[in-house]
């Protein structure tokens, strides 16, 4: 094991009767973009707040480089909280310099770094505006700059993409990729699953305070049943019902997405489709993260 790993090890947290986290365990490696997904209230924010030491865990440990995170190491983490975390009446540049200094930078170094991130995130014309006068998207850029200004060794970002326009999403994605490429473990949560799927090296799906699936998108798919996409324009609704080991996932227009149980015969499905008339498309598909995620949520309901 390399030293540059952020380890969340069997962390548990209760709020009275409510279990927020139960033995939450995963790792974020150096240079890795880790996507953290889960329903609202699944425990993502709690996990991040415990990592930052803003919240104390009931049990379990968070380690960085093999050592439990202390107050001193925590200051080398860059944190972007879920909701706005800036002084509304402070100017953008002053705010970033202040945060840099609080993280232990000299005034000059904090100034250089703040100016650098202001330029990098397209905030130059806004640098002397009060934060409250900025659009939500620009405030989020300032928030990102606040997480990066002290040149952190670990990045923990709670919903960094919320409220961003497509251009800002691209800028944010680019910055996160660069940080990861520079060897920083980057962990972020998001509900934009297509984005997470595109961006992340590894993904963790959380449910009820527990990590239920964790790995690369391909690893997550490995556990999921294979899917078939069939485009049969003349097929009546419900044509695939009753085929052994086959469940209909969705029907969009003339296309039907089917899920096959382990031993189901896809050729039988093809024959059934041809029986309804012409077949324009017949392919095996990889389930998207959205579908994998939905599976997890469904399991949650049946469980």
């Amino acid at each position: 094991m390399t030293h540059e790993v952020l380890e969340i090890d069997r962390v548990s947290k209760r709020y009275g009767e409510i279990v927020a986290l139960q033995d939450m365990t995963f790792q974020v490696r150096a240079g890795e973009l880790f996507g953290f997904v889960g329903s609202n209230g699944a425990g993502k924010t709690t996990t991040m707040r415990i990592t930052l030491g803003v919240l104390a865990a009931d049990s379990g440990e968070v380690r960085w480089g093999g050592l439990p995170i202390t107050f001193q190491t925590r200051r080398r983490i860059g944190y972007l909280p879920e909701e706005r975390g800036l002084y509304p009446k402070m100017k953008v540049l002053d705010q970033l310099v202040y945060l840099g200094e609080l993280h232990g930078m000299s005034t000059n170094a904090a100034h250089r770094s703040a100016e650098n991130w202001i330029a990098r995130l397209g905030l130059r014309e806004r640098r002397n505006d009060e934060v409250q006068k900025l659009s939500l998207g620009n405030q989020q850029r300032v928030q990102l700059a606040a997480a990066l200004v002290h040149d952190p060794e670990v990045l923990v970002l709670d919903e960094p993409f919320s409220g961003l326009d497509p251009v800002a999403v691209d800028v944010m994605s680019q910055v996160l990729r660069e940080q990861a490429a520079a060897g920083v473990p980057v962990m972020f949560s998001s509900h934009q699953l297509d984005l997470v799927e595109r961006l992340c090296d590894r993904i963790g799906i959380v449910r009820n305070g527990q990590m239920v699936a964790c790995g690369t998108v391909d690893e997550l798919r490995a556990g999921a049943p294979p899917q078939l996409v069939v485009d049969a324009p003349d097929a009546p609704a419900g044509w695939a019902n009753g085929l052994a080991g086959v469940t209909v996932v969705e029907q969009v227009g003339t296309r039907t997405v089917l899920e096959l149980a382990g031993d189901a015969d896809d050729q039988a499905v093809l024959r059934a489709a041809i029986a309804t008339g012409p077949v324009r498309e017949f392919s095996r598909s990889k389930p998207s993260l959205t579908e994998l995620f939905r599976n997890v949520v469904t399991q949650e309901k049946t469980a």
């Binding site: 707040r49 930052l52 030491g53 803003v54 919240l55 107050f71 001193q72 925590r74 200051r75 080398r76 983490i77 944190y79 909280p81 909701e83 706005r84 975390g85 800036l86 002084y87 509304p88 009446k89 402070m90 202040y98 945060l99 200094e101 609080l102 993280h103 232990g104 930078m105 170094a109 606040a146 002290h150 040149d151 060794e153 520079a182 060897g183 920083v184």
Partner: protein
């Protein structure tokens, strides 16, 4: 990767937070306006004092006809009574009455020396009345003494020397009025400073909570550093304002001769600064602690009311007791109890009625309370400041 910031001195974040709070407030419009308004208010007070002072000690009296012979006697008697009288000779009673009506004369004296008549507009003030009485009596006495063959001047001299010897059990306080005024102003300023700057701490805490910036801050620095920095920064703003107002006030008072001694005012200012510091540290932590229980500015009023009430009661009750009798038992006891001491003790010190042991006891009690409250308030703050949403119950954070 850089690894700076691993060994920062724990005082640095405190200073950084304090500097931000200080600059943020000192540059704000409310600070400048507040300071100017208070100085203007003090200036108005001082000018009013000067005006009343002048008016009450100088009277203009017109003399006409035979009455002009009492001019010297009138001046001498007035001087003995601590008054200045300007004498004007008036050609005839009718012209004099005109001048009285217009307010040019406070009184017009006419008639023969044995039967003086006084004309006033609508009110003859008591001191002037008794001065005129004395003059009239002396005129009559002088006439009768002359008739009896005695020299009125000789008798007058003898009478002037016949005085009882006065022994004072306590030294006379020539400056009581001034002291009371200074005491009240100091108490008022402290009342204002504690309320305004205590409230500023509370608002600052809630602002950090409602904007969630506290999460970022506490991921970087410890709660006590944030709290202490905030209290020091805002306390310094209050101190600066107090010094500006104090220096301005003393300057005004001395330049207009309302106060004879700068030492009195200087001493009061020094006591004011001491008690401001004690009072601010006493109250600021409580303000911060209760503010940390709520997440929105709208909810702040309900939790700070008990604290602001304590300061208001200290001021209102204390001021009333102090005006009646600053050495009374009630005000003496209250002025030594920590919640009231910061407002009352500097007032009593300015009045010169607080013996050293009372001051020292009050300071010691205040310091002990500050230690206890800082511990308690810091604990509440640390446990509550990251809890957002509904108001946090005190019981929960003390567990």
């Amino acid at each position: 990767m850089s690894s700076q910031g691993t060994s920062t001195h724990p005082a640095r974040p405190v200073l950084l937070v304090a500097r931000r709070e200080f600059l943020n407030k000192v540059r704000s419009r409310s600070f400048v306006i507040g300071t100017v308004v208070i100085i203007a208010f003090l200036a108005g007070y001082v000018l009013l004092q000067t005006f009343l002072f002048d008016k009450s000690t100088t009277s203009t009296v017109g003399l006409t006809g035979q009455a002009t012979v009492v001019a010297e006697q009138l001046k001498a008697t007035a001087k003995a009574a601590g008054r200045t009288i300007d004498i004007k000779d008036v050609a005839d009673p009718a012209a004099g009455e005109d001048q009285v009506r217009k307010g040019d004369l406070d009184a017009l004296v006419t008639g023969a020396s044995g039967a003086l008549r006084v004309v006033v507009k609508n009110n003859l003030d008591d001191t002037l009345h008794s001065i005129l009485d004395t003059v009239a009596q002396q005129q009559v006495l002088g006439g009768q003494l002359a008739e009896a063959g005695l020299d009125p001047r000789k008798v007058e001299q003898n009478m002037a020397q016949a005085r009882p010897k006065v022994t004072m059990l306590e030294p006379k306080d020539e400056q009581h009025g001034e002291r009371l005024a200074v005491g009240l102003i100091v108490a008022g300023l402290l009342y204002y400073s504690l309320l305004v700057y205590g409230m500023m701490v509370a608002q600052g805490v809630v602002e950090e909570k409602s904007s969630r910036v506290v999460e970022i801050m506490l991921a970087t620095i410890r709660p006590w550093q944030l709290l202490l920095g905030k209290v020091i920064g805002l306390g310094a703003v209050g101190l600066l304002q107090l010094l500006i107002i104090g220096a301005g006030g003393i300057g005004l008072a001395v330049s207009t001769n309302v106060l004879d001694t700068t030492s009195l005012a200087g001493g009061a200012l020094a006591a004011g600064v001491l008690w401001y510091l004690l009072g601010f540290f006493l109250y600021a932590t409580i303000f911060a602690a209760v503010a940390s229980l709520v997440s929105r500015q709208e909810d702040l009023q309900s939790v700070v009311t008990p604290i602001t009430m304590a300061i208001v009661v200290a001021f209102v009750v204390g001021i009333n007791l102090m005006i009646q009798d600053a050495s009374g038992t009630a005000v003496t006891v209250l002025s030594m109890l920590p919640p009231f001491a910061p407002v009352l003790m500097p007032g009593r010190m300015a009045l010169g009625v607080a013996p050293a042991w009372e001051v020292l006891l009050a300071v010691a009690l205040a310091l002990a309370s500050i230690a206890a409250i800082t511990w308690f308030g810091g604990r509440v703050y640390r446990n509550a400041v990251l809890r957002t949403g509904a108001r946090v119950k005190l019981r929960e954070v003390l567990r």
